[in-house]
């Protein structure tokens, strides 16, 4: 019984080891070693989308404001 448990544990550990983790696949150092032709073929997986409040530089007429009007 104990040996079967050990076998099961070994099986699970092997499976966990075999499935790659979610760590970043490309570090910047790896990218810097690639030729430019290869960089052009890479697909980004996450886009940078700054929130509206973080836009820089601010528009010439100043930051957008919300106008509040009291109901008559």
């Amino acid at each position: 019984m104990r040996s079967r448990r050990k076998l099961l544990l070994a099986y699970i550990l092997t499976l966990l080891w075999a499935v790659p983790g979610t760590a970043d696949s490309f570090t910047l150092d790896q990218l810097l070693d690639m030729p430019l032709e290869q960089l052009l073929q890479l697909t980004i997986t996450s886009r940078h989308a700054p929130p509206l409040s973080a836009r820089w530089p601010p528009p010439p007429n100043g930051p957008r404001t919300v106008e509040h009007r009291d109901a008559a």
Binding site: P20, A23, L31, I44, W56, P57
Partner: protein, 175 residues
């Protein structure tokens, strides 16, 4: 082995296999790849001989790279080493050799280009139409891949030369 244990093992196996495709896909954030392009732009540029031992790579505006670009610190470009610097005012940009202009829009970009006029500075941006506005190299996202265009007038005005290899890979080269 008890039946329940065997079932649990099979369920775990199936779960791991189901999530495996997501796990193996490459995680590549936009600005990590753009930092690599910036480095290549510096590599494929012919710099003035009297530049000194460092090449200041500056980010002007609200930095979208974060720590991704810090990894370029000290990387070699020929005999020089990159120094990453961040600026929020135009006045400091005179020390830069590469300036990445963040989110150029409106008269912001023309003010930066005016301030750098005549200086040996490679201007880079990632905004649609920035090359036509006078930025030397502009990155675009097409189908989540990065392409770039070059403005030779801007490059010549900065007394710089881009390698023919870099230009051959540009999607558009403005004369």
């Amino acid at each position: 082995m008890p039946r329940s244990t065997r079932m649990a093992a099979w369920c775990l196996s199936l779960a791991l296999l189901a999530f495996a495709p997501a796990a193996v896909s490459d995680d590549l954030p936009e600005y990590r790849l753009k930092a690599a392009f910036l480095y290549n732009f510096a590599l494929f540029t012919e710099w003035p001989a009297d530049l000194g031992a460092t090449l200041n790579l500056c980010v002007y505006g609200r930095d979208p790279f974060g720590e991704e670009i810090d990894a370029l610190q000290g990387k070699p470009v020929g005999a020089r080493r990159i120094v990453v610097r961040r600026f929020t005012s135009i006045e400091g940009l005179s020390v830069c050799q590469v300036v990445f202009i963040v989110n150029p829009s409106g008269d912001g970009i023309s003010r930066v280009l005016s301030a750098l006029h005549g200086a040996s500075v490679l201007t880079v941006a990632d905004a649609p139409g920035a090359a036509r506005q006078g930025v030397a190299l502009n990155m675009n996202l097409v189908n989540n891949k990065i392409t770039f265009e070059a403005n030779l007038t801007a490059v010549r005005a900065a007394n710089l030369t881009l390698s023919s290899k870099l230009l051959s890979l540009a999607t558009e080269v403005l004369p």
